[in-house]
């Protein structure tokens, strides 16, 4: 017994109590308690509060370890890691070879990097995309401020609050507008279409992308575009978004009074920048009031040449010349002006803005060629594209125009210089008064400290983009007729009855002028007497035996769409739809023009695969509760009947992406799915493995994955089938993911229990 224990026992006499009833106190506790506190404070080496602190630290470290483990696992399960396993084994066994290779590598390194200084830790590069195949999300580590760059202090960095109270829609045809967009990620096309629809005046759309296949998907996304012309051009992956906009579409500017520059940016540099694209889109074309305000400013101020967005707050402290000044200076000289490194700098980071075509003339007149731009090598700085991005406002001024920045105040918490402009006259006065000039800055001095990093965007901004992705509020809920499909296979009658009851309630809340319907088919041998008496809104199809999950749903879908359904939602009978789930699913589908597959959120235990916290994109969607529009069904044909059960939803998802559809998780649509604490029987494993093998062969998975599935099958006594299905077209295979086992997507967490 320790000294501490002896002391405590003396205070309480607690080792054996004579007069106690089990579970109850009988002595006056107050005095004993006070003494115990005093004694324990004297004796304690570690206070309870310290324990709390340690536990918190431990929690933080555990999260970091889990993150690193996830990264390690991603490597370990990657095809590359598997493919190189023999080589690693060889090197392990043969140390001499290993030493030789290491020595050679060191020699080569010295050869190409003589006397190389230590590489400084560089901040995430703000002004470019990583135009390389999809990379894992960047580490969201602590932000490292760069050296002081000559931008304005936030409190002097003036911008105009949107929307303007006096802005009004302008009749179409008064001017010609072009949206010039580079889409490296073609699946973003429909997101851009939604925003461009906010330009009531009409807009001709010019989009560049990287391949004919992607171009076909972009064209499909803009089918039926009423706002003007649509032209998609295939470009080399060179010059990021800048070369396509200024070189490939150079002919567009003369035909249009105003241009809107956008591009499908995805930032992998840091998680805090993940919604940067949405920030730019919301700021420049977020809604009709924003668009009318910006175009209204051009109308009221003929000297206004460009309108950019006030800087995204998490981005601000990274902005600057970087390693681009000398290249910028060279370009400036060619345009006819000089740059002063000590003067104020500003530029539309992200290269998205509105402009008069004439304001870009100095850059267009450079007559650049795509070949002038640096070959793509994942550069983070120093390319011609980086230089041009920093010169847009300079070029605008050199062309004789002014520029300004706009801001939606709810998107900012650390940017005090946002001003309301009550009248058109006030706008002209504001432009004349504010020294928003770079070429003759009137003695304005740049900031002398780096702004404090802002670690997250505002809650209002996050809510805005989430509601945009969710389709909230939905302007046309009446134009829908929702169908729910249940495929039953020997489910307990009570379970089916509850699922049907929940589906009927959810249908009643789903919206739409026409009543929704429930479609049921029984793949099992039991009679359908198990169905509840309520038949009015239920269509029970004649059974065709156990044809499989996907085939049965295809029958139901075909029937539902033939009877006028606009949307069909698969519902597993071992789950319960939340009463508002169907409404949320269809709201989201309609918001994306029905060119989307939307899955419900599995609840209470979620599927571990990733989905984006801002736009809710996900690599594949589960068939457990999945909404398809008639458009999506027409484009995909529904499930592939050759899958009996399992993985048909993964296959459908990948085919949907290859057809230009988006995949979304709807976190507002909750589907209570009973998947926890279930025993997995060998027959189930057989179906899973067979389907996974079929999927692997259809999508030309790496040999290592197919071998892994084969080993799994053999481990439970299965023969590996020899037949190989017709593989999908080569261009589709970019959407398949065989690097994450049966998750078929990066997981949010690794193990579930």
């Amino acid at each position: 017994m320790s000294n501490e224990q002896v002391q405590l026992h003396r205070v309480t006499g607690a080792h054996r109590q004579e007069s106690l009833v089990p579970g109850e106190l009988t002595v006056d506790p107050r005095q004993a308690l006070m003494e115990l506190i005093v004694e324990s404070r004297r004796a304690a080496v570690v206070s309870p509060a310290s324990v709390v602190h340690v536990v918190q630290q431990d929690e933080s470290q555990r999260l970091r370890i889990e993150q690193l483990s996830a990264e390690l696992d991603a490597i370990r399960f990657s095809a590359f890691w598997r493919l190189t396993a023999p080589l690693r084994g060889l090197l392990t066994r043969l140390p001499r070879i290993r030493r030789t290779l290491r020595g050679t590598a060191k020699s080569l390194k010295r050869l190409f990097h003589p006397a190389q200084p230590p590489i400084p830790s560089s901040p995430p590069e703000p002004v470019q995309d990583v135009e390389v195949p999809e990379a894992p999300p960047a580490d969201d580590g602590p932000l490292q401020p760069p050296a002081v760059e000559p931008l304005r202090d936030p409190w002097r960095d003036a911008s105009i609050a949107l929307p303007l109270p006096w802005a009004r829609p302008v009749p179409s045809g008064r001017r010609r507008i072009a949206a010039i967009i580079h889409l490296y990620y073609e699946e973003l096309a429909h997101e851009f279409r939604r925003h461009l629809a906010c330009i009531d005046e009409g807009v001709d759309v010019y989009i560049s992308t990287g391949s004919e296949f992607h171009a076909s998907l972009v064209r499909r996304a803009f089918e039926g575009w009423q706002g003007g012309a649509v032209e998609v051009r295939v470009v080399a992956n060179r010059g990021r978004d800048i070369a396509p906009k200024l070189v490939v579409f150079r002919d567009v500017y003369a035909k249009h009074d105003h241009v809107l520059h956008l591009h499908g940016k995805r930032s992998h540099h840091a998680a805090v920048l993940a919604p940067w694209r949405q920030f730019m889109l919301q700021s420049l074309v977020g809604n009709r009031q924003v668009v009318d305000s910006i175009l209204g400013m051009f109308d009221e101020s003929p000297s206004l040449g460009m309108v950019g967005a006030q800087h995204f707050e998490p981005m601000r402290h990274w902005l600057g010349w970087g390693g681009n000044f000398e290249r910028c200076r060279g370009l400036a000289t060619r345009m006819g002006f000089d740059l002063d490194r000590s003067a104020v700098l500003d530029f539309p980071a992200g290269s998205m803005f509105w402009a008069r075509s004439a304001a870009l003339a100095p850059l267009l007149d450079l007559k650049l060629d795509v070949e002038d731009f640096d070959p793509e090598a994942g550069q983070k700085d120093g390319t011609l594209a980086h230089a041009i991005e920093r010169l847009y406002y300079f070029a605008c001024e050199h062309a004789g125009y002014r520029w300004l920045k706009v801001a939606r105040p709810e998107f900012y918490e650390h940017t005090p210089g946002i001003e309301s402009i009550p009248t058109p006259v006030a706008l002209r006065e504001w432009i004349a008064r504010k020294p928003l000039r770079l070429l003759d800055g009137a003695g304005e001095s740049p900031r002398d400290t780096v702004p404090v990093p802002v670690e997250r965007p505002t809650a209002a901004f996050v809510r805005e983009i989430q509601r945009f992705a969710l389709g909230m509020p939905n302007a046309r809920p009446s134009s829908r007729r929702v169908a729910v499909g249940l495929v039953i296979y020997e489910n307990p009658p009570a379970e089916v009855a509850r699922a049907i009851d929940a589906a009927l309630i959810a249908l009643a809340h789903a919206g739409g002028d026409a009543a929704g319907r429930l479609y049921v088919v029984n793949n099992g041998p039991s009679a359908l007497a198990l169905l509840p008496v309520v038949r009015g809104a239920i269509d029970v199809l004649e059974t065709q035996g156990n044809v499989g999950f996907g085939a049965a749903h295809n029958r139901l879908m075909t029937t539902a769409f033939a009877q006028g359904a606009t949307h069909y939602v698969t519902v597993n009978p071992d789950g319960l739809l939340h009463p508002m789930a169907l409404r949320a699913l269809v709201d989201m589908a309609q918001a994306h023009g029905d060119r989307v597959l939307v899955e419900a959120l599995q609840f209470p235990r979620e599927h571990p695969k990733v989905y984006d916290a801002f736009d809710f994109g996900t690599p594949w969607v589960s068939g457990g509760c999945l909404a398809l529009s008639r458009t999506a069904f027409d484009l995909t044909g529904g499930f592939d009947d050759s899958f009996f059960m399992y993985c048909e939803d993964v296959d459908l998802s990948w085919r949907a992406r290859a057809a230009g559809l988006s995949l979304k998780t709807c976190p507002k649509a909750i589907f209570l799915h009973a998947v926890t604490n279930r025993e997995r029987h060998v027959p189930t494993l057989r179906m899973i493995f067979e389907s996974a093998l079929h999927l692997a062969r259809r999508w030309d998975a790496p040999v290592s994955f197919e071998e892994w599935i084969g080993a799994q099958m053999k481990s439970i006594g299965m023969d590996v089938p020899g037949e190989r299905p017709e593989p999908v077209p080569m261009a589709w295979r970019q959407y398949a993911d065989f690097q994450h086992d049966f998750v078929f997507a990066p997981p949010r967490w690794l193990s579930d229990d």
């Binding site: 089990p22 579970g23 509060a49 809510r463 969710l470 571990p608 507002k668 579930d752």
Partner: protein, 296 residues
């Protein structure tokens, strides 16, 4: 006492947290065990707020087989934080044989009560335990985003581990009221933290407990990034709370030292020769620490 009914006491102290409450209740709607009665214990809600709560829950409670709902409102102006009083308020409203607890922001898996009831019905235990996971989540206006799944911070193997420290979150167990002596099933209102642990110590000191379902995860414990959890937040580390927490820890230790372990419980852990009617929880722990087999 309604024989097959599980009463679930759900605490709610903020009428703005209806999104999380509705998820919590929906997880109860999904229970395979059919007879569930929810007792929603609210802290000083106005009539309008209570009406708002009922309206928010009405759609999910309209589902077939959904639990019944009783709202019990703590009206008194004191204490400021009536979290423990809310639990007793809920207990005063129970009518079923079985009772459980669930905070408004946590969830249970569909088989949770079915599994725990099976343990209670096949043993002599007055309380049966399973496990819950922790999930890290961002609470947004329209939904909850689960960003990761940290490893469970709660680790324990059975009764002795529970006596050493609480590894059993409040929704990880089910209590059989019929097997408890009168007076045990109430919370000590002088505790604002660890009130549930204090109850567990008293229950487990007097009646057998079942831990055989610990390897089953039956629900989620939400660690929320908005800091709205009542524990493990920065707020806990304020000076006043440090002191309060020290006092609570001392109270818990005193509970161990002053609470006698029943012979029935001792016999689940000790040889007959070691059984002693005067043994306290602390004494039992000390005795078992010196025991060659501490795997109990």
């Amino acid at each position: 006492m309604i024989e097959d009914q599980v009463d679930c006491i759900v605490r709610l102290h903020d009428s703005r947290r209806l999104l999380e409450l509705e998820r919590c209740v929906f997880s109860l709607v999904g229970q395979r065990h059919e007879r569930v009665h929810i007792i929603l214990a609210t802290q000083r809600f106005s009539a309008d707020e209570i009406a708002g709560v009922r309206a928010a829950l009405a759609p999910v409670l309209a589902l077939a087989g959904a639990p019944t709902l009783t709202v019990a409102n703590w009206e008194s102006a004191t204490p400021a934080d009536a979290r423990t009083e809310l639990l007793n308020l809920g207990l005063a409203a129970v009518t079923g044989r079985y009772v459980s607890f669930l905070d408004y922001d946590d969830t249970l898996f569909p088989e949770a009560y079915e599994l725990l009831l099976a343990r209670l019905k096949t043993t002599r235990a007055a309380i049966a335990f399973a496990s819950v996971r922790t999930v890290r989540a961002d609470v947004h206006a329209d939904f909850v985003y689960v960003s990761s799944h940290p490893k469970p911070p709660f680790a324990g193997r059975g009764l002795l581990d529970l006596m050493r420290g609480n590894f059993c979150p409040i929704h990880s167990y089910l209590i059989d009221r019929a097997r408890l002596p009168d007076g045990v099933l109430r919370f000590d209102t002088s505790l604002v933290w660890e009130e549930d642990y204090d109850l567990l110590l008293r229950i487990c000191a007097c009646k057998p407990a079942d831990f055989q379902a610990l390897h089953h995860v039956i629900g989620d414990y939400y660690f929320k990034t908005d800091g709205s959890n009542s524990i493990w937040t920065d707020d806990v580390l304020s000076e006043s709370k440090k002191i309060a927490y020290e006092q609570v820890a001392a109270r818990i230790e005193m509970r161990r030292r002053l609470t006698r372990v029943s012979l029935e419980v001792q016999r689940t852990l000790l040889d007959e020769c070691e059984v002693d009617a005067r043994l306290t929880l602390r004494g039992l722990l000390d005795l078992c620490a010196s025991h060659p087999d501490d795997a109990l």
